[in-house]
Symmetry: C2
Subunit: 419 residues, 2 copies
């Protein structure tokens, strides 16, 4: 059978000729017994959705177009230039001058594992603050690789005072302290000021997760003495998931490049990744793994959009739209899960589940009738909240109005239990 | 500054309103000190290339278009359907009925680490055959996670007899034996028949890397008793890099789901990944990590193209085009690195570096004057070969002619040393 679909749809790259001499009489020696699956002979179907949950958020046409461009090799000089641009774009977004700045070839969890695997050696003490799902994940990752994990725990929506943190630093003497800046499972933006200083005082690295907050809430890596910072591509940056910016300062580099043992993962070993990103000062970049070329195109484009817009404009935009959304939610008679305005994450708003309603029914209704995603809680916040995310490209008052209209409609049409 | 580029270029998704009330007088409390980088205010530039190296290969317009489609959430039912389709597409491409079939959210190295991390526990014996770079990588991965690694080594281009393999299996009693089917660094396709039986006899899992061979050379996972098989998206499948199909049979599942210790990586833990792919029989899929939505769109499309074309047609196409290329290379007076025709990988051809020539100059010449990528060796084969890949979408006689013309031109114009 000739590759019909290719021939009919492949005209744009005509230079790559496809005319194939196919002999139908000859049969390969080895025998295929499993036939082509019927589903694979159907076209790819993707519905249009308002992605107003905690991410992935909608990808702008400009970023989608970047992802649909013909690729080049992952080791071509032009790809290195694109990676250099990405590095500069991340430095701007993170507000850091760290040389050791790059993107992971994977989602935020890849960055999370990379940070822990490279800076902690088996047997070393790690302190993890848990006030939602992300701390739970880091504790599990650090435990698996042999770290001695200590935790500071609050229920979802809670946060830690600098006094609590310093007490735990003094007690557990960790090499690494983890904190989530944007706790998207609870809708909390955690205060950062002063914690980096405490970590320095106690000879500990300060690792911050900004997957849900980057570009949406003020964060200044260098000024706030954050030693390791990572984020994801699919939130306020509005690129498809699959890349994750990360940066290590000199303190972090000193720790991770003076290890006694190799990191347990070859794929996530920063010795190799730093070379792949041209950060190690060596003249040549060696082959380590094949980076997601199209993913890097989209990440570059999304970082370019942020640079054009300006970080402070982006922060202000998220704050204003979030405040508008919060007011609208309260006008509907709903309660916001995070009471203190200053602790509310501007990118992901958590609504306390209204009494008498089944949250799953509300979400299902909005998906069915408004093609709109909002989500429930995650990990410890399941059953406590409904989450609404308006991030980056999605962050506008008209979109907030759409979200509010869908919520109002769901509240009106979903049955309320007679408790 | 208004996001001009977004406003002017974002018309296609007009429903997602972008009108932003930006107040220029107000200033955020925290202060941005690092300005937007100049490079980020320049457009993304990507040259057009013939990717005739060992991969990534050119992506067809149809697959690129799939990657440029608006995304949906990674946990939407429609995404699960796309993942189910991908699973069926991989089962066809691998010729397996294994339920535990899925795609990694990462490149082939992610699949490599996943296979080793899940099936080996610290202290267990692993046997790795090394006849190029891939075995070296697996040995390093297994060593880092605490495996007792034994190796069978040949120089690049060499292969192992079943007798040699059985002797090593009997001696080292490994729980896992690794072999590369398509050794792209040397251009060798390794015989597979009988090895799976030997592994069963010696109570060992048979792990095969088919990153460079899948769809190009016959491989039948179930019939050949391969316990774990993985590949990459960016070779004969012609999707962008960033996804990696993998499959485990019941023997492999029994080993990996009856461990005493947890795998060292949370991200690559098959307990979680099997749930994410709906393979564990549980009614709900939990959030584990955010999969590369666009990457899965492209992988589905590339597997659909293979299903439409037919696996046997694809194998035949690669064989015919490779034979045509090999003859053309010999007609140029060049020597093929792998002498035995039956051991030559149809997707990636290795040419012995012609005497008197600097291989780097030849490659640079073709890139500069023909916009064509061929590559040198990799790992132990560096300085031994030039590699030409014509895979999937790129696999045609007219493309072979283009490659031969570029080679002839480079040989004519690059200076030959007077050795």
């Amino acid at each position: 059978m000739l590759p019909k679909a290719l021939l009919s749809r492949g005209a744009a790259l005509a230079a790559l000729d496809l005319s194939l001499p196919v002999r139908t009489a000859q049969r390969a020696a080895s025998s295929v017994t499993i036939p082509p699956p019927a589903c694979m002979l159907q076209p790819l179907e993707v519905p249009t959705r308002y992605l107003f949950g905690p991410g992935p958020s909608n990808v702008s046409p400009r970023v989608l177009a970047a992802g649909g461009r013909p690729i080049i090799g992952h080791l071509h000089p032009e790809m290195y230039q694109i990676m250099n641009d990405i590095k500069k774009g991340i430095q701007y977004a993170f507000q850091t001058s760290n040389n050791m700045t790059l993107s992971m070839s994977g989602s935020g969890h890849t960055a999370m594992e990379c940070a822990v695997f490279n800076t902690v050696e088996p047997g070393e003490s790690v302190l993890v603050s848990i006030n939602g799902v992300w701390g739970e994940r880091v504790a599990e990752i650090a435990e698996r690789m042999g770290g001695k994990v200590h935790t500071l725990v609050k229920s979802p929506g809670g946060h830690f005072t600098n006094e609590e943190i310093e007490k735990a630093l003094a007690k557990h003497k960790p090499v690494l302290f983890f904190l989530t800046h944007g706790e998207s499972s609870a809708g909390l933006v955690h205060p950062i000021d002063g914690i980096g200083d405490l970590c320095r005082k106690h000879n500990c690295l300060f690792l911050v997760d900004s997957v849900a907050s980057l570009g949406a809430a003020p964060l200044l890596m260098d000024q706030q003495n954050i030693d390791i910072l990572y984020t994801g591509s699919q939130k306020a940056l509005n690129a498809p998931p699959g890349t994750a910016p990360i940066s290590f300062n000199d303190r972090a580099c000193h720790k991770m490049f003076n290890r006694k043992t190799k990191p347990v993962s070859y794929l996530l070993d920063m010795t190799h990744l730093s070379n792949y990103w041209g950060n190690d000062g060596k003249p040549a970049r060696d082959y380590h793994h094949t980076g997601p070329v199209s993913g890097f195109f989209t990440l570059r484009e999304s970082l370019a959009i942020l640079a054009e817009k300006g970080l402070e404009n982006s922060w202000r935009q998220h704050k204003e739209v979030a405040e508008y959304l919060w007011k609208g939610i309260e006008d509907l008679g709903l309660k916001l899960f995070i009471k203190d305005k200053d602790l509310r994450l501007p990118s992901v708003t958590t609504i306390a589940i209204p009494e008498g309603y089944n949250w799953r029914e509300l979400l299902t209704y909005m998906m069915k009738h408004h093609q709109m995603e909002m989500t429930g809680g995650l990990g410890p916040s399941i059953g406590m909240v409904i989450r609404v995310g308006l991030m980056g490209y999605n962050c506008s008052k008209p979109n907030a109005d759409k979200a509010l209209a869908a919520l109002a409609d769901a509240l009106k049409h979903c049955p309320k239990s007679k408790a």
